[in-house]
Symmetry: C2
Subunit: 248 residues, 2 copies
Amino acid sequence: MIVYSIINHKGGTGKTTTAINLGAALKRRAKDVLLIDLDPQGNLSYSLGVNEFSQSMADALLGECSLGDVMEIREGITVAPSDNNLADTELSLARSEGQEKVLSQMLTDAKGFDFVLIDCPPSLSTLTLNALLAADKVIIPMQMEVLSLQGLDQIVDTINKVQTSYDKDLSIEGVLPVMVDKRRKLSIEVEDYIKENYDLRIFKSHIRNNVKASEAPSFGKSVISYKPTSNSAVDYMHFADEILELNV
Amino acid sequence: MIVYSIINHKGGTGKTTTAINLGAALKRRAKDVLLIDLDPQGNLSYSLGVNEFSQSMADALLGECSLGDVMEIREGITVAPSDNNLADTELSLARSEGQEKVLSQMLTDAKGFDFVLIDCPPSLSTLTLNALLAADKVIIPMQMEVLSLQGLDQIVDTINKVQTSYDKDLSIEGVLPVMVDKRRKLSIEVEDYIKENYDLRIFKSHIRNNVKASEAPSFGKSVISYKPTSNSAVDYMHFADEILELNV
Ligand SMILES: Nc1ncnc2c1ncn2[C@@H]1O[C@H](COP(=O)(O)OP(=O)(O)OP(=O)(O)O)[C@@H](O)[C@H]1O
Ligand SMILES: Nc1ncnc2c1ncn2[C@@H]1O[C@H](COP(=O)(O)OP(=O)(O)OP(=O)(O)O)[C@@H](O)[C@H]1O
Ligand SMILES: [Mg+2]
Ligand SMILES: [Mg+2]
């Protein structure tokens, strides 16, 4: 079982879209996938049509139920949903010591999955810390924009801090360019800047800007199942194949 | 003096871009403007070229210096900067009671400004709570996308809660459509949905999707001063005029 956290505290950089569609694409490649929604916005849960639930990650993280109690299945993928209650849970986790390992302890119950993907909120707070301590590796979806670039240092610093202060084996699998528009000179300049200044893999796969990706959530589906031949669906299938090659 | 908080916990919805360029446009209309960066990402500070500072909002919020100590001037606009240290400040504010009024108390020192604009992080946490308690009104920049729509209920709920539990006079001035691409059917559908289902003003001004807006930060300038004739600069000037009409 490989656990990936999908993180970037810069907002709107395709974290949720990547968690859902990498998950759906890995499922198409006959892998068993668990998606964990760790964002109080609950975008991942909403986007896959998981709306009415009595228990969620907010309860499981406080030990009020198990991870298994909250799981639902959509498109053959197992989903552990969240809603705004997770914001209160985060506050109570932040107020007590040693609560950053709750998620990694919970995942010892998650048996039988090939991949676990954790969708993180746009912050480097207690929830994201839990995700980093639960993960083996990290995927950083990123728009090739100047403001997104500024946050890359902060992410790398945060991951280094987690490795040293918790003696945790955690690596950055790579940066995934998302919402890419090859016609924009800025996209190419930002990508070149990363290649020259960071010791990070930029995935061969790039996710093109494609309105179908932003329409899919209104149908409660991944874009892989909503429009399998669309640019973004095809790109996420390529990305899944790249991830599988890296985990042979 | 009118204090606006620019909020939306959905990430990447143009909060920082709106704070900077509404500020720069109001300055062009001969108004005195204070911009407060309340996001640990420090995107507002970076975008206006405020990079080397020994004290910032992280220090002022802990009472280690005054608001006046951290102010810098860029394009005639006063900026109170932030960097990643603000994340630690937020954690210590969250751990102690009654710390949500720190910013509103600080603003009693801010004299001589016509407008104060507060750029908020993409979360509904302690920092955003401070911004809501310091503000007279709120501007919600929003992409006309399905996932952004989902967060609107949570924002409205949060503002209602702040009004009742703190007996605070706070209103939503409106929703500002940003990164609008009129060719996309989805944009029109989402805007129509808001008009039919919410009792909220949608500003007459819309900010068009325009690469110049995303290039400006790499020059440390507002788009108003970087490319004054670009679509996004023109749209932000219209927006400033609309804000001035609402505050006659
Ligand atoms: N390849 C794409 N093409 C077009 N639109 C996209 C693409 N990927 C994501 N989007 C849209 O961009 C917006 C931001 O994406 P998403 O919500 O996945 O980002 P996020 O990083 O999870 O945001 P947050 O920081 O709020 O959690 C959404 O409206 C989404 O539908
Ligand atoms: N009108 C526009 N046209 C094109 N790009 C834009 C426009 N407005 C903002 N952008 C770009 O979109 C991205 C998101 O905008 P911005 O950073 O202002 O959003 P934000 O809500 O402040 O994000 P965060 O949630 O991380 O604080 C940035 O890369 C920005 O340069
Ligand atoms: Mg998300
Ligand atoms: Mg911002």
